[in-house]
């Protein structure tokens, strides 16, 4: 039983890490567009990014099934091009978790980018720095606390994702059965209460840890990242 629990924990960690890792760069790009650029369709982009937060997770999961399932247009395209498949695999669980976590990753990054004083970037360019250098030496370091907060928040969300995952990739032990799905499965079996309790304890521990880390990051963000000169 302990071995199975470790397996569930490792799978959950793998899914959540993949979901967060692959979301970070696109989330930063979207956050940058929303914070810095004015363009046609900005409101639409904003709405699409927020959608997973407000839609019933089951609906998001169904949408993923339609798009990325083995018969879905995107699913077939990725299968043909890269031999990547999502249906009923852990990669699908990671995709579902990533999509659900995306808005939570974008938001703190966007806020921290908005808090970066544009005057500092202007100062950097008068000192001779080209735009990519200004980004790497001024904008990115100052937005880093937001990036870290987004990553922690997204990781926590991905770890606990349930509705979209079970709808998209089902509840397959050893493949797609993450922590929340395992707890749900155990609670459905007559003898599963004790085992479920252990997993519940484990997930409470993880959640408290994530909250503590994100609190610490948020405190650093409000201290160092923002510019306090009016």
């Amino acid at each position: 039983m302990a071995e199975a629990e470790i397996g569930i924990l490792l799978l959950s960690a793998k899914v959540a890490l993949a979901a967060t890792g692959f979301s970070l760069i696109p989330a930063f790009a979207v956050a940058w567009l929303l914070a810095r650029r004015r363009f046609f369709g900005k409101a639409l982009l904003q709405a699409v990014v927020t959608l997973p937060l407000v839609l019933p997770p089951v609906v998001t999961g169904y949408g993923l099934l339609v798009l990325f399932g083995s018969r879905g247009p995107l699913g077939r395209l990725l299968e043909d091009l890269f031999g990547m498949s999502f249906a009923f695999r852990w990669t699908g669980a990671a995709l579902a978790a990533g999509v659900m976590a995306f808005p939570l990753i974008v938001r703190p990054i966007r806020l921290s980018l908005e808090a970066v004083d544009r005057g500092l970037e202007e100062a950097a360019s008068t000192l001779g720095a080209a735009s990519p250098v200004v980004f790497l030496t001024v904008t990115l370091p100052l937005a880093l606390p937001g990036l870290m907060a987004g990553a922690v928040l997204g990781f926590a969300k991905a770890l606990g994702e349930f509705g979209a995952t079970i709808t998209f990739v089902s509840n397959i032990p050893g493949e797609t059965q993450t922590l929340s799905l395992a707890i749900y499965a155990l609670l459905q079996t007559p003898e599963g209460d004790a085992a479920a309790l252990r997993l519940i304890g484990l997930s409470v521990l993880l959640a408290v840890g994530a909250v503590l880390v994100s609190e610490w990051v948020a405190r650093r963000l409000s201290k160092g990242g923002g510019d306090d000169r009016a």
Partner: protein, 360 residues
């Protein structure tokens, strides 16, 4: 030796600015009230705002030329800019702030870091972070950072305005040290008389977006000048000639002025220099005078300077300065708001051609 040549006009919102001046190595102050357009002119020089037309050159290097379509970005202008706020990078140590122009800006190091650190008294602070420094220390770091980017021109936009009186007094000696050893043009924007008097070799007075006077700090700020006091600068357009006598009529914001100059085409834009000592005043228009120009003006301000009085006059939208004896000022009972006639001989008006403005 780099000499900066500025001749630009442009808009910022509904505000129009036009500036023409030269800045040699040493401190040239752009002096005027808040909102007079000084900072806008400075930003246009830095490349963070764009003039509509004109030319900016540092020696043989053209930074901006509307006709040749040259508009170097800020980072390629070879400028150092000190902002009103220090704008230090909060995530970098003082050392990395100071050397930013080198490791991120690709500027070649000529002066050792230690030299600038010593000049600005920052020895104890190089390994600290900006948020542990006082406001005055931070602004000194900002000045050092600009100097260490090896600028050909140093632009300073009211660098002391965000500091209280004590901090200003603390920084001024450092600014004097920077000015004394600088071999580059330093453009120093300020509305503070005491700063300008202490630092500036030359003062360009700006009002309502226009250059109103150019002179030494002593001349502009009110002490008696050696050669006739301040010079008023007016702009106008040639509207007619008197071929027989070789004079030209120039239309200005407040009326017309006649000057002795041949060969000025009608429509040409001119900049006129009128010395304060060449302007006499009368409380009523006079007949039977040799003086060709009798301009209706209104007294704006009267400043006593020992035996002399400097009278600021408005002539429509233009400004004229008159330097008369204090005795005359009292005899005429001059005070702000009083209408007077400024008497200026045609031969005392020095014209200079201005380049045409695009779109006129």
């Amino acid at each position: 030796m780099t000499v900066l040549d500025v001749d630009i006009s442009g808009r910022r919102g509904s505000f129009t600015v036009r500036a023409q001046f030269r800045a040699e190595p040493g401190v040239t102050a752009l002096f005027g009230r808040s909102g007079a357009g000084k900072s806008t002119i400075l930003k246009m020089m830095a490349g963070t705002a764009r003039p509509d037309s004109g030319r900016i050159a540092a020696g043989s290097r053209v930074l901006f030329d509307s006709e040749a379509r040259i508009d170097l970005p800020a980072r390629k202008r070879g400028i150092g800019f000190v902002f009103q706020e220090d704008r230090l990078f909060p995530h970098l140590t003082v050392r990395h702030n100071l050397t930013y122009g080198r490791w991120a800006g690709g500027r070649r190091a000529r002066r050792p870091l230690e030299e600038i650190v010593a000049l600005l008294g920052l020895e104890a602070h190089v390994d600290r972070y900006p948020d542990t420094l006082s406001g005055g220390e931070r602004q000194r770091v900002a000045i050092g950072r600009a100097l260490l980017s090896e600028p050909e021109i140093l632009l300073m936009d009211e660098p002391l305005s965000s500091l209280d009186r004590e901090r200003r007094a603390e920084i001024l000696p450092y600014l004097e040290a920077v000015a004394a050893e600088a071999h580059i043009p330093i453009i120093y924007v300020s509305h503070e008389t005491d700063e300008v008097a202490r630092l500036a070799d030359r003062v360009v007075a700006i009002d309502e977006g226009r250059v109103r006077a150019i002179g030494t700090a002593a001349e502009i700020l009110g002490d008696a000048g050696e050669d006739g006091g301040p010079v008023a600068i007016l702009e106008g357009r040639v509207t007619g000639h008197d071929e027989t006598y070789g004079t030209a009529i120039v239309a200005l914001g407040g009326g017309t002025i006649e000057l002795s100059e041949r060969g000025l085409p009608a429509g040409a834009r001119l900049r006129l220099r009128i010395r304060a000592s060449d302007v006499a005043l009368a409380t009523t228009p006079h007949e039977g005078l040799s003086i060709r120009n009798q301009l209706p003006c209104v007294v704006q301000a009267v400043a006593l300077e020992g035996p002399f009085a400097r009278v600021m006059l408005s002539f429509g939208s233009e400004r004229i300065i008159s330097r008369i004896t204090a005795k005359s000022a009292d005899a005429l009972a001059l005070q702000p708001g009083k209408p007077v006639t400024a008497l200026i001989k045609a031969v005392s008006v020095e014209p200079a051609r201005l380049r045409p403005v695009v779109g006129e």
